[in-house]
């Protein structure tokens, strides 16, 4: 699928990067090439081919939202996607990502500040719902398929790990399983925050900006805090890094959690959902690669197992 796509994207990218010398000798780097996403860089320009089933009608307002908010998002180079080999392609300036070999340098304060400001911003253009819950539902669907087709795998313990994940999934409220509208339909959210979603622009040391608009939309803002929250709850993220992130978010007036006191009534359901999603992806991957689960993956699955005995917390205003 990507075979005809990649050269075509590269040609467009070169033409965009330096229109006068499209035969330039600069190297073209593939930053990501997965079944659902291809990202290619040439000089200071990046092209992203979005997932094959991405509708033009939902990607365009998301792209325009980013274009309207250059203090929060990496600004796209074009306001509408281009179609190449039935894939929607968008063009961006290159930004320097967080060094994956040095996650201790994670910009927790910058991430929290960007999220707090995003959550306080009215959508500049109507956008679809944030896609967090539907992505968790997809991860569960893939886990179910993987366990059903994994009869031949010798790693029975890996397949057995699916049980506590599915049990935890079924204790989540309908909105967190993408089976009902979210209780918040107005707050602008990123929808898929992790450390790979932050870049410095202009490279290499400009301010931090959010990237990846594919899941952006209106929804429950606590979802954007829920990955770090889940990592902390699972004993993976040290308390001081979680505290830096949460305290900065609160200091910047972020509305996802109360400004003081226990944040967990607001965080509980999204953090459970993202723990379930992380565990589901880990088990699916281990089954596919026919390998045992590692210690970190087990700690996320263990958290799912503990969820069964503790009913989900509800935020104070959940009656709406």
């Amino acid at each position: 699928m990507t075979t005809p796509l990649l050269p075509e994207i590269t040609a467009r990218l070169k033409a965009r990067a330096h229109p006068s010398t499209p035969t330039c000798p600069c190297p073209t780097t593939t930053l990501a090439d997965r079944p659902d996403t291809t990202v290619v860089r040439h000089a200071h320009t990046v092209a992203k081919a979005h997932a094959p089933d991405t509708p033009h009608a939902t990607l365009t307002p998301r792209l325009q939202t980013a274009a309207h908010l250059p203090d929060l998002f990496l600004p796209p180079l074009t306001r509408t996607p281009t179609t190449l080999h039935n894939r929607l392609v968008t063009f961006w300036p290159y930004g320097t990502p967080v060094d994956p070999d040095d996650p201790d340098a994670a910009p927790w304060e910058a991430a929290a500040t960007l999220l707090a400001r995003l959550h306080r911003t009215s959508p500049p253009t109507p956008v679809p719902p944030m896609r967090g819950p539907i992505k968790t539902a997809h991860a569960i669907a893939r886990l179910t398929t993987a366990t059903a087709t994994a009869s031949a795998t010798p790693a029975a313990s890996v397949t057995a790990a699916a049980c506590p994940i599915l049990r935890a999934w079924h204790t989540l409220p309908a909105w967190a399983r993408a089976e009902a509208p979210m209780p918040d339909t107005t707050t602008l959210c990123h929808g898929d925050l992790h450390l790979g979603q932050l870049v410095r622009h202009p490279a290499p040391d400009g301010p931090w900006r959010l990237i990846d608009v594919d899941d952006l939309g209106t929804g429950v803002p606590a979802w954007d805090l829920a990955r770090p929250a889940a990592w902390y709850a699972c004993g993976l993220l040290p308390p001081d890094e979680w505290t830096r992130f949460l305290d900065t978010y609160r200091a910047e007036g972020g509305p996802a959690v109360p400004s003081a006191g226990d944040p967990w009534p607001a965080l509980d359901i999204p953090a459970r959902a993202l723990t379930v999603q992380t565990a589901a992806r880990a088990v699916t991957k281990a089954i596919t690669e026919d390998r045992p689960l590692d210690e970190i993956e087990m700690s996320v699955i263990d958290a799912c197992a503990r969820m069964g005995s503790v009913p989900p917390q509800l935020p104070p205003d959940s009656a709406k």
Partner: protein, 100 residues
């Protein structure tokens, strides 16, 4: 005050915050209640220049966590990415930080 033994006047000295009365005649020393313990404490700090640090993660109360979270502090508690004392994180957690 006067020395209870030889009745010579006693002088007060301050040694690291501890008031010590010493007799100007027989050089005997008078300690108030608790001062012997205070001196013993000072001596042990002197022979152990670095006092044993409190367990780092418990230095401040941990922020709240949900009931389904990893048991903090106890045996089998948090991995914190498999790193203790700011060394390398577990590779698997490093990957998790960057993936959807």
């Amino acid at each position: 005050m006067q020395c209870p033994k030889c009745h010579a006047p006693m002088h007060t000295y301050n040694r690291n915050g501890v008031q010590i009365e010493q007799c100007s005649g027989c050089r005997g020393i008078f300690l108030d209640y608790g001062e012997l313990e205070a001196l013993t404490r000072l001596e042990s700090q002197w022979s152990q220049p670095a006092p044993p640090p409190p367990p780092a993660p418990q230095a401040y109360p941990a922020p709240p966590a949900p009931a389904w979270g990893a048991p903090h502090g106890g045996h089998g508690g948090g991995h914190y990415g498999g790193h203790h004392g700011g060394h390398h994180r577990h590779k698997s957690f490093g990957h998790m930080l960057f993936s959807s």
